[in-house]
Symmetry: C2
Subunit: 267 residues, 2 copies
């Protein structure tokens, strides 16, 4: 499982406060604990007003790179910011994200074409988030056409099928599970990613919904996720699910991660 650590995000009040107050130690600590917990990428999202976004994301990226070698996930709804921020990173990371909306792909794909950068791509376009599985797969096909054009291997792409909140859904995540299966069938090396917590919006005891969601998504083929790697129960659940899905012979990884304290030990 590829873990994209979600904790450095200006949409989280404590992080917004640290950004406003230039509290470097707070940010560095978030980078450090996520890296130690096993994050494969450290997501960095400023969530500030447009005029401050580029300088803020640079400040955040610099701080993360001071304390860890874990690659950066540049997180902005503005593809121009993503494109600019590439140069702040001292090694290839992940662009989070593009989609078929506007000129996002045209801006980002040429920049990462001949690199080792990876890229998250959302299944939406200028008409918004498609409501049917078929339509999402059409958007997916368009993204892959562009990826081929710029010679970006499927293994560098993390498709986010855009799971919507469960409380307004009529068939749960069955449609999304089918979309994930079809994507992995077409491109076995591609990654499928998603946030692990949007699903439970407006519901009580959200952690249970989030945990069950990630287990089910993994069974469909999701192999990347934006989540809090310091959430030990969630991390343990990921290792357990990989073992149950036959991806961890004799539970060696599960037991190893437990011994390393990645889950099961109360701090």
């Amino acid at each position: 499982m590829i873990i994209i650590g979600e904790k450095i995000n200006g949409a989280i009040p404590s992080v917004a406060k640290a950004i406003a107050g230039k509290d470097a130690e707070f940010i560095k600590n978030l980078a450090k604990i996520q890296s130690e917990a096993g994050a494969n990428f450290i997501d960095v999202c400023a969530s500030v007003e447009d005029s401050l976004e580029l300088e803020t994301i640079k400040w955040l990226i610099d701080l993360v790179q001071e304390v860890t070698d874990t690659p950066i996930s540049i997180d902005s709804p503005n593809a121009r910011i993503c494109a600019e921020a590439i140069k702040f990173c001292n090694k290839p990371g992940l662009i989070n994200s593009v989609s078929m909306e506007g000129d996002k792909i045209e801006l980002v794909f040429p920049l990462i074409a001949e690199t080792k950068w990876e890229c998250a791509a959302l299944l939406c376009d200028d008409t918004g988030i498609p409501q049917t599985g078929e339509k999402r797969l059409e958007v997916f096909a368009e993204i892959m056409k562009k990826a081929k054009e710029y010679n970006i291997a499927p293994s560098r792409i993390h498709i986010d099928p855009l799971v919507q909140m469960l409380c307004t859904s009529e068939n749960g995540i069955l449609t999304i599970m089918d979309v994930i299966k079809e994507i992995k069938k077409q491109y076995p090396d591609i990654h499928v990613t998603g946030g692990a917590s949007n699903i439970s919006f407006n519901l009580p005891v959200r952690k249970l919904v989030n945990q069950a969601f990630i287990v089910l998504s993994m069974s469909s083929g999701m192999d990347s996720a934006i989540l809090d790697p310091t959430n030990k129960d969630l991390m343990g659940m990921l290792y357990a699910t990989e073992a149950l899905l036959g991806m961890d012979e004799y539970c060696m990884e599960y037991i190893g991660a437990y011994r390393e304290g990645k889950f099961g030990v109360k701090k």
Copy 2:
């Protein structure tokens, strides 16, 4: 989800002590709390020496029936005990269990043929637990042949595919998941059941493995389980999974169960 409450089992040390000391209140309390937590059946397993099993199971059944109307699940590896204990029950419940081993089915099926009793049936025979999915499905076919012979509708049968411990498995539960899917495909009205905790034997932080196991099994079609209904995280996970699998429109059941305190509230 059909919940078979597992707490009254002489294999659990505190229950063994209550049985040995004739502590009626202890047993009655276990029946009461499981019933209140939403159990559909209260499993009753003596786990005492053979000569005492029948009188012990009668004592346990009588106590359960003093405090709850929830049907009994008569749990014994000895089909003769199951057959005898039917008469202690004041309403139809569940026989737990038969299999193709020996004359178990011949003993039990005739007794429940013209009744509303349900029956758990394990996918094993005189050669033991089959190691391949194909062989388990062969045993399943034999059980269903017998069920047809005695006119026992699939909706009264809970098939237990016999999940073995994960730590010695090479492909996790993938084989079992395929077996469950095939069973539900052949008989959409049949129930598929299993213990929610054997899977994690010998592993650390067993609750995470148990929870992920039940989520994955439910996605394959498991709709019945032997578990502790007073385990609120596990119960919440069941409701969450049903909602995610499109079995709970707008999460009404999930939210209702939360409001009733079935999960999410610390005691």
